[in-house]
């Protein structure tokens, strides 16, 4: 892990911290009385704010988790060099694609 990866991971974590709190708060609120697709969508669809909120979250978490898994893969699975970086990029891509799809799904009208 280089200084650059370290800083990016820390900064993404710092960005996520308030978002996580917010997300959990919303979920607790939403969960009261059961969860339904309609409810979720009703709240989020068409909202630029929610799009930005979840969009930022997805970008941050994808980067953060990709770097995090990269470390774990290197230390616990012995991955090195190109294989390691490729794996990290793959994780990043996967999370970004799935994440943005989800964000699009819940916020697009």
């Amino acid at each position: 892990m280089t200084f650059r990866l370290y800083m990016v991971q820390r900064i993404s974590a710092l960005i996520m911290a308030p978002l996580v709190l917010m997300h959990i708060a919303v979920m607790i609120y939403a969960i009261q009385g059961g969860l339904s697709a309609e409810e979720i969508l009703g709240r989020t669809q068409g909202s630029v704010l929610w799009f930005l909120f979840y969009g930022t979250f997805v970008v941050a978490v994808s980067i953060h988790a990709a770097i995090g898994l990269r470390t774990v893969l290197s230390e616990w699975a012995g991955l090195r060099g190109t294989a390691l970086n490729a794996a990290a990029w793959a994780v990043l891509a996967l999370l970004l694609i799935l994440g943005m799809q989800a964000v699009y799904g819940v916020t697009a009208t």
Binding site: M1, T2, F3, L5, Y6, M7, T71, S74, E75, W76, G78
Partner: protein
Amino acid sequence: MADKHQMSVSVWRGAAAGSFQSFDVKMEENQTVLDVVAWIQQHADPTLSYRYACRVGMCGSCAMMVNGTPRWTCRTHVKKVLVDGHMEIAPLRNLPVIKDLATDMDPFFDKWVAAEGLHHPTQTRHDPIEAIDPASAGRVEVNAGIECINCSVCYAACDTVAGNPDYLGPAALQRAWSVYNDSKDAGKQAILDAVSGVGGCHNCHSQGSCAVHCPNELNPMNAIAGLKRETARNFFRRRAR
């Protein structure tokens, strides 16, 4: 073991590949783990290899894994580690084994140098000795880590070292932090660069095993945190310029 006057000692034999061999050793009043190892070599099996020099905790050459924990053996009383009359002695972890209990410590020292853990002079032997306030912040920071005997116990205790062969490790980074805080040192940027690379201080997960096991009660984790802080600060400083 029922016999109060005997202990059974499993000792690693071989190099990377090898196995444990068991010896019965007589218990003595004031016996260190190193004494046990030496006794085996001198009286039971003359082919046993190990390393020591000072025998009083100054040289850091006698560290081994005792019951899975890295320790300085010359200053570890047998009573402290014996479990039901048994103990297990293995070569120090995270270093290549030369033979039996002796490891090749070169990687540890190569990293010490790679971390720029050495003085970068600003003055010469022809200059007077600088007055330095012993209570100044930098000096206090240096003093916290200066009594390192490079025994590699922390290096063996650190799982990050185990998982990442590039990682410079706690002792080397602590030394870099000491040098960094020396008001007379000319290599500050070189140090920050050296500890910011692939094997740098940012790999440390603050596992803290280094601080827990350092026989001299030093705290490399704190020193490494210092480096992380300074590299971050330096990054923003350079940006601002």
